[in-house]
């Protein structure tokens, strides 16, 4: 099953879970599945028009989905999605 890794700053919205299995044939469907189960995370990932917010980076494996087909990027069961947050601590 496709999984999404949730970074620490967003785990408060997923009940503390770090890796969440999701269903969907595209990135958009996988995000729809994630946000349906964890609605509180939605405003932190998606704009009102459904696009990814500009400070959120989503990677399929090692590639940014923006460098692939964006939200229409296709997924297989073995794909791992990685959410990369902006963090600024030093």
């Amino acid at each position: 099953m496709t999984t999404i890794r949730i970074p620490t700053p967003l785990r408060g919205y997923t009940g503390g879970q770090s890796e969440i299995p999701v269903t969907g044939e595209t990135v958009a469907q996988a995000l729809a599945d994630l946000t349906a189960r964890y609605p509180a995370i939605k405003p932190h990932l998606l704009q009102d028009d459904g696009e990814l917010r500009p400070f959120v980076n989503l990677f399929k494996g090692e590639e940014n989905v923006n460098d692939l087909q964006g939200l229409e990027t296709s997924l297989t069961e073995t794909d791992k999605l990685l959410l990369i947050p902006s963090i600024a601590g030093g």
């Binding site: 408060g12 923006n66 963090i87 600024a88 601590g89 030093g90």
Partner: protein, 384 residues
């Protein structure tokens, strides 16, 4: 400074000279090179220590802060003896003790659009060890505009990131993060905490990358982002590409000079009063103490996380963590006077904004938080 090595230096750097990738030529290169470390905090500490030990000829340190006891859990360049001293002076003394042969130049000022070019132009690499978004965008833009590598590292709680942003040959920080997150979404280490050893892990990676870049050896993290999680002990690498829409290094770049980074990020950068909600919205601890003695004592709203209440608490305060406040407004009486507080005033200032936008009118922010209360009203409470 001569780039020839003295006998003392040959002995000092002998373990470098034994590595063929460094050798005598490499060590001379390091002696002739320079690095600017922006911030002498969690990341800047290990970066500066290891670069000094490695024999970088000239190291610049930028910071405007003084050493505080709460720094010492991770900022290992400082010590108990230097609490209260300027960070750049404390750091310089430690570096010169570690390596008296190098030159350490200090800048006791915030890194800003006004001074950034003047400070940065004479260094070969910049190392981003700052703790806020405005200074991170500033460091990036300075590097892009001056054509220098930006050795990036960033931390939060158990997560770390590192990369080498060099817009001449790869993507820059803005290619990955075109815009900062909205203010308040990502807490700072002062609010959210950080595992003390985490900046050690990420800072030593930044120092490694700086040495590789200066020596011209190995494969630096250009076009790669390292993601580290200390809890899971995972190291992930992802590929970064130049963003064709990048506003500073893309083909249609519209940022040609340094901008107002505090405005761009919607938050104050370094050096401002973090514990204030703005003029007219604050109440200080002694004022609150006298209000609480009176007949119409205000409601105290504590917006800290529950585990922080184990450290310090005020009697009769209602606890609703900031993250849960929007969903629990109905529990509060908007007709009653209210004073909101947190650890130091940052989260409560944000809570106040939320309350005011929801129609609450009689709200004040405890300036400086419960720590200010512990300092000036109830000294039996610990400061954290």
């Amino acid at each position: 400074m001569s780039t020839e090595l003295s006998h003392d230096e040959i002995l000092r750097y002998s373990r470098h000279l034994l590595i063929p990738e460094v050798g005598l030529d490499g060590q001379k290169k390091l002696k002739a090179s320079s690095a600017l470390v922006i911030g002498t905090g969690g990341l800047g500490s290990p970066v500066a220590l290891y670069l000094a030990a490695a024999g970088i000829g000239r190291i610049g340190l930028v910071d405007f802060d003084v050493v505080d006891e709460s720094n010492l859990q991770r900022q290992v360049i400082h010590g108990t003896a230097t609490v209260g001293r300027l960070k750049v002076e404390s750091a310089k003394a430690r570096l010169q003790d570690l390596n008296p042969d190098i030159r350490v130049e200090i800048y006791n000022e915030p890194f800003t659009s006004e001074n950034a070019f003047r400070i940065a132009e004479n260094y070969d690499v910049l190392i981003d060890g700052t703790d806020n978004f405005p200074t991170r965008y500033l460091s990036n833009d300075v590097c892009v505009l001056l054509g220098k590598p930006n050795i990036y590292g960033s931390i939060f709680r158990f997560d770390g990131q590192a990369s080498v942003f060099d817009a001449r040959v790869g993507p820059c920080y803005r290619c990955l993060f075109p815009e900062p997150p909205p203010p308040g979404l990502v807490p700072s280490c002062a609010e959210g905490g950080v595992l003390g050893v985490l900046p050690g892990t990420i800072g030593t990676i930044q120092a490694t990358e700086a040495l590789k870049v200066l020596l011209g050896i190995g494969t630096p993290l250009v076009g790669k982002l390292l993601l580290y999680n200390a809890l899971d002990m995972t190291f992930d690498f992802v590929n970064l590409r130049k963003n064709p829409k990048c506003r500073i290094c893309g083909p249609d770049a519209d940022i040609k000079e340094l901008i107002d980074y505090e405005e761009f990020c919607g938050v104050p950068g370094s050096g401002h009063d973090e514990g204030s909600a703005g003029e007219g919205w604050d109440i200080d601890a002694p004022q609150l103490a006298s209000l609480l003695q009176g007949s119409s004592a205000p409601l105290l709203l504590d917006v800290r996380e529950p585990h922080e209440l184990e450290i310090s608490w005020l009697p009769n305060a209602t606890n609703i963590p900031l993250g849960a406040l929007a969903a629990r407004l109905s529990e509060l009486d908007s007709a009653r006077e209210m004073v909101v507080f947190c650890k130091a005033g940052t989260r409560s200032a944000r809570a106040l904004e939320l309350l005011v936008s929801a129609g609450f009118k009689k709200v004040k922010n405890l300036h400086g938080g419960i720590n200010a209360w512990a300092r000036s009203v109830d000294t039996s409470l610990p400061i954290y």
